[in-house]
Structures are given as structure tokens and as C-alpha cells.
Symmetry: C2
Subunit: 445 residues, 2 copies
């Protein structure tokens, strides 16, 4: 039997795991500095926790886990006989794989509300699963890296998240533009155009503006039943190049005025902060997700085209899904898969990640092998990462192995070295070779 | 809707995640020092990769993922009509959740054999899923922590793993007994008792000896068709208290002689090593898993009763399941869940894990809040972990929040502090309070 992997899933080699962990470790470090603490939720959630939370399309993309045991006994026989898979599914499956980290987070907060301190700051880095059609860069299993604070409407958190974006990408050695906006500014645009009641339609169309252009947006707005005059008014106002004039105009609306007030409050916090990356207030930034109610964020690389590599926003009502209303929150998510691709493209992973070993001991004979084992023990005790070639094979074979594993130093031991206690240390990068005592090895590798 | 979790699954609070990561980080650090590099495999494997690998019982405990889309269309209608769930399952599901890390590892090695350097040393720390009946300490989702080396029969790796056990538990501050044995020594016992052809039956029975005692083993052996005389011979020989006499006796068998030869080679490597924990050659140690062919390991806490908290052994033929024969390997696994319980019971987690924050800034008014935000930025830039209470609430309320989050220091800022640049720093453990400048804060928290 020739083994395969399910489509849309991947193995990660050591090199990939180490690079991915490098990204995660920087994100985690910054999250922790801002008081975010980790939680973890199980891969499987009750199917009813997930169903209906991601729209009709989302329900279809949920991976459902077949009930164990004699699952046909409790199945919906009628639906099965009718060949109605959608109707039969809930009777065959009561568990689903997590589709994102947001819904499990909301469930977590509701279930553990009596044990949590609010505002509750948590981060979560775990895989999610979606039955999307696999294609280049899109997988059925991928990681999400989220941080959220819930239980406070304070705008200090929006300011913190802007800093977090700035610092994570600074530490990853990537240059980005952090765009932000406020849903109330967008609502102001809708009010100004007289289509406040079609606000969601407008944001969904505007969200595609980067891809489909102004003409595309006009067509989509029209398709969604917005008059040509109102649609043109939307495009005209979001195309204004003078930011101050735009602000003056939108502030005349009730929502716009509130939006700008909050944005100015956020600016007040950041007054003294010198970002490494750019922060851009972009009044046309829309974000597709309908649950955002306040400030929204989107981050793009300035060095390569990759779309959004991080994003987020404020929501008023996430936990009301599970019966806990009025919990304002704000959260962000780093797109680890895309960040990985950007880092690879721009070659920003540190060289030092290419091996986890400092040296390997190459024994010429059996006595040297046993001696080398003890030498390795001593070096490891001193904190070094050391391997031993497991048997006295030909030098060429051993060197080839060391090379293939990209180990920076080899320590060659034969009869003479065992007798004298002076080992042959070779730097695999420079080719330089020298005799070194056990004591000096600690500092040389 | 009141949210719930599927039975047998758990949320992990921040405290639990931090403690679990502490255990993982020590295990990883030691693995890396010995040249083991991480890999990761997807949660979902092709069902045919998993089926038949864990026995009949295992097949039943596999979580199967329902096919997406119109899954009934390709379903085995006859099996469904017959109400035959076992027969219908493979037609409804082509993916399963990983049941352990060993089978995915074997699949990985076979699929990536051309990209790997042999001997290939990998570690893997990921969750696995089993539809076991949930009970205290047994979950349907739990982590495994495995390290394996494959592609070499060299006994240096057995010696390394004994060291790895010793060092991991030393660094976790746990005292353990590492028992080891050799399957050929056990086979020697079977040969001596004249039941070499019932070797697997014998090991399965002996593996339960700790639980069921000698009488229980005798009964089970008899139940499995082994004569009373042979069964008694097995018990007599494994009950011998004189290890040297036992060895002499078993070395008279062909297998026993080979087993002791290998054990002596392992001892030769460890001759100079001073373990912190105890290593015990236990000729009655059996291990239930039938794929072990050489040295086997089992680790128990010496401080509390918890059963085996780590284990492993050598196998001759893991990848032959997937058409790649003759790849000898040896691997070990740490039982992270049980180790967690032992650490909790014995209170061995460091105090420092109880919070990730160094300090929280408590603002008395709005000016102090904005000022506090900048102060927090500066402290974070210097590497500190700092939070800010998000609005100028009553002191009592803010202090309660700081207390509940177990934050060791609070920095109180009011109008006076903003004007003077001297902040009130309170140590929450000692209650001590002092005025401190921004510059001094860095060293005080």
C-alpha cells in the first residue's frame, strides 16, 4: 500500500516546523508583553456550537465527525432514504472540527465566565479545518493566531493592537502598512449617500474595491438594489483625495461624527509612539465580516504582494450567540500561512534556523564511538546541541551525513584522539580544521 | 442556547496552557540537544492509513470524518439499509483523525524517504484523538510527545534515550525509576519455559503482572493455552531475586544470550554517565505493544503512584506497513497528561508560571490613562510584560482586578504622578509601596 495524504493537508518538515515556530514565538512574545495569556480549546466542538455561525456557505465547509459505535441506529432514516445529505448529516454527526478560533473563544468566555477576569485578554494559536476546495496556498488545515480582549469598550485596546501589529512585524523584519478605519465612518458614508439601511451591502461591495475597482463596485451596488445616484455618491466620496475634507464631510453625519471621535481618541493614545511601520487611516477600508461594529484593521506587506497578512476589529456582541449579551470586544488575527510565504519570498528567516545542532561527533572506530558518546554527554550537559554518528563508518559517509543535515561543526575522533584527548574540530562552513581539547570545544562550537 | 463541549474534550485555561507548555518546552529542549528535530503531520489522515493498524478495538476507536458535499450519493446503500454501521462507515468517510503519532510517523518516513537523512531523528508533539469512553484522566483528545530515530540498529540510541529520560525528569524536578529490558531476554524466558511459539501471549500476560500478581498471570497463561508446568516455570524464573543467577540461566538460551549481549553494549555506553534518576534492568518488564523487538523502556514516578509516565522501545519493522521494510528504529513517548498530574500533585511547577505579567498600570484619571499608555509602551520596549487598566475606575476595583490576575506589581498613576514623573509602585506580595521614577521602574519590576 502506497501511503497518501488527504487532499488539502500537509506534512511539515523539520525546517518548516522550525520556521513556523519562529513566527509563532515572536507573535506570542509580543502578545504576552501586552498581557494576553494563552488558552486552548478542543479540535472537536459540538456541531451545534458551530452550525449557523459562518453563514450557509460556512455550514457546508464544516468538517463533521461521524458518530461512533452503531451510528446508523440513531440516523434520520427518512433523510437517508431521500438521499438528502444535508438533512441526514446532523443525525450522523454531533461533533465538528473547529472552523475558526472566534466562535470557540466566544463559547469559552460564556462557559467559563465565572472564572475569568474582565476585561479578559487571551491569545490562541491552533489549527482550524475547512472543507474548502484545495488550491495553491489554500489548505483544509491551517493555523490561526488570534488575540482578543473582551468585556471592555475602552479604546486603549485599539491603540494597543496597532502597536502589536507594528512590533510583531518589526521583530519579523517585515515592512508593512497597517490600515485602519471605523465602521461608524463607513456608516457615515452610507448616511451621506442616503443608504444607511443598506450599510452591510455597501461594506461588502467596498471591501472588494481593491480587486474589482470603482466600476466593479458601482455594478455590484446596483446589483444589490442601490440606486445609481447613491452608488455614485458613495464612490465620489470614498475617492476624495483630501482626507481633511473627507473627514469634515462625513463628520456632518451622526455615525461619522462618532467614528471620528473614536479614531481621534485612539490617536491620542498613540501621540508619543513612534511606529517602525506605517499606520494609515483608510476611510475606504471595509472588511467583509459583518460582526465588526467599531474600529477595523488590515495589514499588508509593503515589500511583496500577498493581500492581507493580519487583520481584526471591534465587535459589540460576539458572546450573545451563546446567551451573554453586551460584551464588547476587539481582536486581531495574524495570517501565519501568508506571513510564512512572505518571509520565504523575502528570505527573512534567520540563517541560524537552518540547523538545531552545534556539532556532530564522527567516530573512526568502536573505542572512539564509546568515547564520543561520553564527550557528547559532557557537551550536552554544558547546554550544547550535539549528535554522534552511530557507528564507525567510512569518513566520507559520515561527512556526507553531517553535510546533508547542515551541521556547522564536526568533531572527528580516532584512536589517537582518544589517547591524547585532543580532537579534530572541523568548521563545515569554512573548511577550517584544528586540534581542540574537550575543554576548548565548549567555546568553539 | 447554552454552550457545551463534546464529552471527553477539554478547554485549557491560561494557567493550564502555561504549565503544559512548561513540560513540553523541557522535553523539546532535551530532544533538540540530542539532535532530534520536529516534524508535524496533519490531524486528518486517509482512513486507509489508519485502519487495521491498531487492532480491531483500535479501528472502533478511530474518529472518522464524514465526507463533505453530497456524501450519501457514494454511500454503500446496501450496508445502510442493513443497518450495518461498520460496513457503511468507509463509504461515508475517507478521512480519520490521527490515533497516535507512530503510524503517521511511519507514513511520513515512507512518503518523504528521498528527502530524509538516515538515521532520521525526529520528535513530534501533537494531539491525538480516540473515541474511548471518557473517564477520570482519560480524554478523547490528548497530546503525545514522541521521539524516534529510524534507519539504524545502533545501540547508541538506546543509551541516548536512557539519558533523555534521566535529563527530562531531572529538569522537571521529578524523581523516577527508568526500567528497561530486552524482548530477546523475554524470549529467552519463553525458550527456557519451552513456549517460544507462544511468546506474544506470554508477554501480554507478564505485562499485567504489576496489576494482577503472579496468580493472575498463571491464570491468564493457562487461559491462553499454556500448560501449567510451563506457566509455573515462567513465574519461577521471573521471580528469581538473584539478577546474576537469572542472567546466567537465560543466557543459556539463544535469544537470551543475544538480549544480554545488547544490554551489555548499552551499559558500555553509559559506563561513565552518572544518572540523577535510577536505571533498573527489569527482566520482567514486558510492554503490551507487539511491534517491539529489542530494548524496551518504562518510566515510573518514585514519588507518587501514577503508572507509567514515559515508555518506548525498539522496533524492527515499522515502515513495512507502508512498503518500506528493514528500517530498524527506536522511539520513546512521554505521557504529558500524566506528567502534568504528577507535577500538580507534587507541586513541582515553578511559582513563576502563575503570571505572565510583571506589572499593571492603574490610572486615577484620564490624563493618567494616556500617560500610562506611553509608560507601558516604554516598559514593553525594554522587554517587560505590562498591562494597563483600561479606564480610570475606582482604586478598589482596579486593585481587585490586579489581584485576581496575580500580577506581582501595580504602578499607580494620578495627576501628581504625571506631573512629578514619580510613580507609586506597590509590590502585591509584600504590600510594600514606594515612589519610583520611570528609569528605576525597569529594574524594580
Amino acid at each position: 500500500m502506497k501511503p497518501t495524504l488527504p487532499k488539502g493537508t500537509r506534512d511539515f518538515s523539520s525546517q518548516q516546523v522550525i520556521k513556523r515556530e519562529y513566527i509563532f514565538s515572536i507573535i506570542k512574545r509580543v502578545f504576552k508583553q501586552y498581557g494576553y495569556a494563552p488558552i486552548e480549546t478542543p479540535a472537536m466542538e459540538a456541531l451545534q456550537t458551530l452550525m449557523g455561525k459562518y453563514g450557509e456557505e460556512g455550514d457546508k465547509l464544516l468538517f463533521k465527525v461521524l458518530n461512533n459505535g452503531d451510528f446508523l441506529k440513531k440516523a434520520d432514516q427518512q433523510a437517508i432514504q431521500d438521499g438528502n445529505s444535508d438533512k441526514a448529516a446532523p443525525s450522523l454527526s454531533k461533533r465538528g472540527l473547529r472552523y475558526d478560533l472566534t466562535v470557540p473563544f466566544a463559547r469559552y468566555v460564556v462557559m467559563h465566565q465565572n472564572d475569568l477576569q474582565f476585561p479578559f485578554k487571551r491569545y490562541q494559536i491552533q489549527p482550524v479545518w475547512r472543507a474548502d476546495r484545495p488550491q495553491k496556498g489554500r489548505y483544509q488545515e491551517f493555523y490561526q493566531c488570534d488575540a482578543d480582549v473582551i468585556g471592555s469598550g475602552a479604546l486603549i485596546y485599539e491603540a494597543e493592537f496597532l502597536q502589536i501589529f507594528d512590533q510583531v512585524f518589526e521583530q519579523l523584519n517585515l515592512s508593512v502598512n497597517v490600515r485602519y478605519n471605523h465602521r461608524q465612518i463607513l456608516l457615515g458614508v452610507a448616511e451621506y449617500a442616503g443608504i444607511a439601511d443598506q450599510f452591510v451591502d455597501m461594506t461588502v461591495c467596498l471591501d472588494k474595491r481593491d480587486k474589482i475597482g470603482d466600476q466593479g463596485v458601482l455594478q455590484e451596488l446596483s446589483y444589490r438594489g442601490i440606486s445609481d445616484a447613491a452608488a455614485q455618491k458613495v464612490i465620489d466620496v470614498v475617492s476624495m483625495e483630501d482626507a481633511a475634507a473627507f473627514a469634515e464631510l462625513i463628520k456632518t453625519t451622526e455615525a461619522g461624527s462618532k467614528g471620528y471621535e473614536e479614531i481621534e481618541r485612539i490617536h491620542q493614545f498613540l501621540n508619543e509612539y513612534q511606529p517602525t511601520n506605517t499606520f494609515t487611516l483608510d476611510p475606504t477600508l471595509a472588511r467583509g465580516l459583518s460582526y465588526y461594529t467599531g474600529c477595523i484593521f488590515e495589514v499588508e506587506s509593503l515589500e511583496t504582494q500577498m493581500g492581507s497578512i493580519a487583520a481584526g476589529g471591534r465587535y459589540a456582541d460576539l458572546t450573545s450567540l451563546f446567551g451573554m449579551p453586551n460584551m464588547s470586544g476587539v481582536g486581531i488575527s495574524f495570517g501565519a500561512e501568508r506571513i510564512f510565504d512572505v518571509m520565504e519570498t523575502l528570505e527573512r528567516f534567520p540563517e541560524s534556523l537552518s540547523t538545531t545542532l552545534d556539532a556532530i561527533i564522527l567516530p573512526m572506530d568502536d573505542t572512539a564511538l564509546v568515547h564520543g558518546f561520553s564527550l557528547a554527554s559532557a557537551l550536552r550537559k554544558a547546554g550544547k546541541h550535539v549528535d554522534v554518528y552511530p557507528k564507525p563508518a567510512k569518513m566520507q559517509k559520515q561527512m556526507k551525513y553531517a553535510n546533508a543535515r547542515q551541521i556547522p561543526h564536526v568533531i572527528i575522533i580516532g584512536t589517537e584522539e582518544v589517547a591524547s584527548g585532543m580532537y579534530t574540530l572541523k568548521n563545515m562552513l569554512t573548511g577550517e580544521q584544528q586540534k581542540t581539547s574537550a575543554a576548548d570545544l565548549h567555546s568553539s562550537i
